[in-house]
Every structure is written in C-alpha cells, then in structure tokens.
C-alpha cells in the first residue's frame, strides 16, 4: 500500500503546484497590463502636455472618472445597472428554461426534431437585434421588450446546445447503466442529465454576454431606463466622458458576470479533464 500512498501524495502535489503557478503569473502581470493601458490612455489625452483630440472626442481617464463619480452620486448609476441586469437575467433565465426544455423534447421526439431542425437553425442565424424595433412596437418602452430581446438572443443558442447534447450522449454509458438493471429514470438522471448539463453550461457563458448585449441594444432603440438609455442621452448632448464612463461600467459588469459564470462552470464540470488541467 506504500505505492498507493506515494501516488496520492504525488497527485496532490501536482495539483497544488499547478494552482500556485497560475496564481503567480496572473495577479502581477494582469495588474501590470491594466496599469499600462490606463497609462497609454492618459499619455494620449494630455498626460504628457499634448492633447491631439478634444475631450468631446476622447476624454482623459480623469474626466471619465469624474463623470462616473457624478453618475454614481446622482443615484442613477445603481438604478440603471440594476435595470439592465434585471432585464438581461430575466431574458437569460427564460431562454435557458425554454431552450433546455425544447432541446430535450425535440431530441427525444426524433421525427419532430428532424423536421424542425433546419427552421430553428435558420432562426438561429437571424441577427437577433434586427427584431428589436419590432419588439418595441409590440411591447413598448418598458422592461418586457428588453427581456424578450435577450430571450430571443439566447434561446436558440441554448436550444441548439441542448439538442446536440442529448443526441450525442455516449450510447455505451447508457448501456452500462441499463446492464446494471437501471431503468430509463436512472439513465436520464445519471447519464443524460450530466451530459446535457455540460453542453448547456458550455453555452451559458456566451449566452450571458449575448443577453447583456441584447438588453443594451434594446435600450438604445427605445426605453426609459438602463445603461443603454443613459448612453443614448449622453451621446445626444455630446457628453463623451459620460459615454466612456458607461462603457467602463458595462465592461466591468460584463466581466464580473462572465467570470462568475466561468468559476461556477469550472466547479460543476471539474470531472472534465480539460478543465482541471
């Protein structure tokens, strides 16, 4: 049993070393990259006493920051962020639920699936933002039109992934469970569900970005709140620092959400070799 002990220790050590290495490269270099970007931006907008473009075209980091602080103090920032995120998440949740259900149903109902596959694939290749004006006409400037736009943007992606996921379940794994005496309930819970979940998670990260982008686009087209709406207002009066501030907010929010999703995914799919390596 000594050999077993040794192997276990070795396994632990390798993992530990890997994590340490990733940690070191990350923090230092990444902060440096962010710092350098800001420095270049500052240098190009008057930091070195030379300013080729006026603030109305390209504001400096300081001007952007000031505008951001003003935005936050007015209380509108929190309101807009929560409005935009709420819409994006509602759309995402609806899209996940519908897309997964539809994907599973059509994958099992083979005939129907075969019949509908080309139609759904065509809908999937339609540029989703193109329906934004239509949704505004139908559902008004409120939250519904944005939720629906986000929903339409993600539902096909999720559907397609679920559908291909169910169809590509490894038949040998199904057989292994059947041979042990497992019924269709066991097969569904132990084989199909985890397998499909891994496909849905793979689509989740892209879907989050898509939902956010769709919501902001919807707000551009017609709304009364939200980051996209505030951006349209600022553009109208050539308040470029405010536009930059909003872009920064969008970037930060988007990054935080996607990074969160990535971590959840890495944990849930830790059984996959490529993700733990």
């Amino acid at each position: 049993m000594a050999a077993v002990e040794l192997k276990r220790v070795a396994l632990g050590k390798v993992r530990w070393a890997r994590r340490a290495a990733v940690g070191q490269t990350n923090v230092g270099l990444r902060l440096l990259a962010v710092g350098l970007s800001v420095a270049v931006w500052e240098a190009g907008t008057g930091g070195l006493g030379w300013r080729p473009l006026p603030p109305a075209l390209l504001p400096s980091p300081g001007e952007t920051w000031q505008s951001l602080v003003g935005y936050a103090r007015s209380g509108l920032l929190a309101l807009d962020v929560s409005r935009t995120l709420t819409q994006a998440f509602l759309g995402l949740a609806l899209g996940m639920a519908t897309g997964t259900a539809l994907g599973v149903a059509l994958a099992y109902a083979r005939r129907l699936g075969d019949a509908l596959e080309p139609l759904l694939a065509a809908l999937n290749s339609l540029p989703r933002v193109a329906v934004a004006p239509l949704l505004i006409i139908w559902f008004g400037l409120g939250i519904t039109s944005k939720v629906l736009l986000a929903f339409f943007t993600v539902v096909f992606v999720i559907f397609m992934n679920t559908y291909s996921g169910v169809r590509s379940v490894d038949p040998d794994l199904v057989r292994a469970v059947q041979v042990m005496g497992g019924g269709s309930r066991h097969v569904a819970r132990w084989v199909v569900l985890p397998w499909v979940a891994s496909w849905v998670f793979a689509a989740l990260r892209t879907s989050i970005s898509l939902a956010l982008a769709a919501t902001v686009t919807g707000e551009f087209v017609g709304s009364t709140h939200g980051l996209g709406y505030r951006m349209v207002l600022a553009t109208g009066v050539l308040d470029t620092p405010r536009v930059f501030a909003i872009l920064l907010v969008l970037m930060t929010v988007g990054y935080a959400v996607v990074e969160g999703a990535r971590r959840v995914e890495a944990y849930l799919l830790r059984w996959r070799p490529e993700l733990t390596m």
Partner: protein, 280 residues
C-alpha cells in the same frame, strides 16, 4: 456441449446464434454454448472474431439496433433475452471499453448498482470500502475517473460489477490494461470470490494462461466469422493458486493443446487476409 443435462432450463444458453452487421461483415456463425449455473467459462479466440459481440448479444444489447441482423436465441433460466431489461437486474457486465461515468467519483461509480437496488447509504459505503481495499484503490474513492490510471479504471469497472453480486457476470478482457503483478493478484481475487459466490461467469480474454487458470471450461472460437471450434475441460478444482497451477504438467499439456487450436486459427486468418490482398 459438455455438461448440459438436468440443469439445462436453469442455465445460460446460446443457441444457433448468427450475427452480421449492416456493413455486411458476418461476425458470428451458428454459435451454440451452454453455461451451467455457477459455472466459470472463459472464451478465447483471435482478435476481431466476435467475442465482444457475443457478450453484447448475451447482455441484450444487440437487439433493436438498426445496424445488426441476428438469428438464434439467448436464454437464461429458460427466459429469452432480447434487451438488457430482460435480465431483471441479474446481470453484470465488465465492458472491454472504459464505461465509468466521468462525472461520478470512483466511489459513486462503484455504488451505482447498489443504488439501483435501493441499498441504504450506510451499507453501500461499507461495501464500497471493502471492495476498494480488496483491489488496492484506497485513497482514490473520491477521485474522478480521468484522474485514475488506465489500470485503476479497469479495476474500478470490475468493482462496479462485483458490488451488487449479480447472478451472471460477463467480463470482456477485464485485466487487459493491467501490469503482470496486479493482474495476477486480481486473477486470484476474482477466482476466490467466484469460488465463494458461485455466480455464472462468461469470461473473455486474449490470454490463454489466464483463461485456463481461472475457468472450469475454455471455449475456443474461430477467426471471423466466429464459430465455436472446441470446448476444453479444465481438470483443476478450487481454490486455485494461479502461479502454482502454471507449474503443473496437466496445465502445460492443456495449454499446448488449446494453443495448437488457437495457432491454427491465427494461420487461417493470416492466409485469408493474404488471399484477399492478392485476389481483389
């Protein structure tokens, strides 16, 4: 076929089984075989002769498949087997391919059969702990399959089947990826366990020594399309010591005899391939 007789209705019977794939490949040709209850039979034959296919048919995995056409029957206790569910949980199958569920840990994989049978958690834990110790996998219970070596995965698959003590066990080269030392240990463990439980075992291997050392009878299959060429009785009782057996004269004689038959199949296979290459 050797024994048969009184226990016929209770045994595992393969009758006049022929099978071809839609690709046109004829894989099995009129295979008949009877395994008495509690008997340990091993199957040897050239690679690609249809050993895995035979086990798949017995397990009920070959029917209702568009790419397979078969005739003949498989019965267990007189009941005809068409699908895996016809075994009503009395079958265990150690596949040649790795079929551990990758999202479950070793422990979770091994206890699947027990969960299907509604065994309470504490009993499952205890059973898994025993089994894991038996094959030297302690410390790896909560590790995912991709973090195990090939040999460890193979042992895990074996445990997954042994865990719920099925009445009939099919094993398809279960020790194929193991080093000589582990292999010898497992041959002994499995033979010992079988001698106690007396399940009905059909054991496919490409290792003739292993086939003789473990089984009561050895079935020699022909090259493709697979037929039963001959069935050999192994004249040793249990408990057996694999190493000690190999030193015996009877072992050497039997090994030489079966080997002759096997070598003839190899030669026939080579000759056929050569003819195909030159002819077409």
């Amino acid at each position: 076929m050797g024994r048969g007789g009184g226990g016929a209705a209770l045994s595992l019977r393969v009758e006049h089984l022929s099978l071809r794939y839609a690709t046109g490949v004829e894989v099995l040709q009129d295979v008949s075989l009877e395994v008495a209850p509690g008997e340990f039979v091993s199957v040897v034959g050239p690679s690609g002769c249809g050993k895995s296919t035979l086990l798949n048919v017995v397990a009920g995995l070959a029917d209702r498949r568009a790419d397979v056409e078969r005739s003949g029957r498989v019965t267990w206790n007189g009941r005809e087997i068409h699908t895996a569910s016809d075994w009503v949980g009395e079958l265990g199958y150690v596949f040649q391919r790795d079929t551990l569920l990758p999202w479950f840990t070793l422990h979770q994989n091994v206890e699947l059969g027990l969960r299907i049978r509604g065994v309470p958690r504490e009993q499952r834990e205890q059973r898994v702990r025993e089994l894991v110790r038996l094959v030297g996998l302690e410390g790896f219970e909560h590790v995912f399959p991709h973090q195990l070596s090939g040999g460890m995965r193979q042992r895990a698959q074996l445990l997954r089947t042994l865990a719920y003590e099925p009445k009939v066990i099919l094993m398809d080269e279960p020790f194929g990826a193991l080093d000589a030392h582990t292999r010898l240990g497992l041959q002994r463990e499995v033979t010992e366990m079988w001698a106690q439980l007396r399940n009905t075992v059909l054991f496919v291997t490409h290792d003739l020594t292993e086939a003789i050392v473990m089984a009561q009878r050895v079935v020699l299959m022909s090259h493709r399309p697979g037929r039963v060429v001959q069935v050999y009785e192994v004249p040793f009782g249990y408990p057996r010591d694999p190493i000690e057996l190999q030193g015996r004269r009877e072992f050497a004689l039997l090994h030489a005899e079966i080997w002759q038959g096997l070598a003839q199949e190899f030669r026939a296979q080579d000759a056929e391939r050569e003819a195909e290459r030159l002819g077409v």
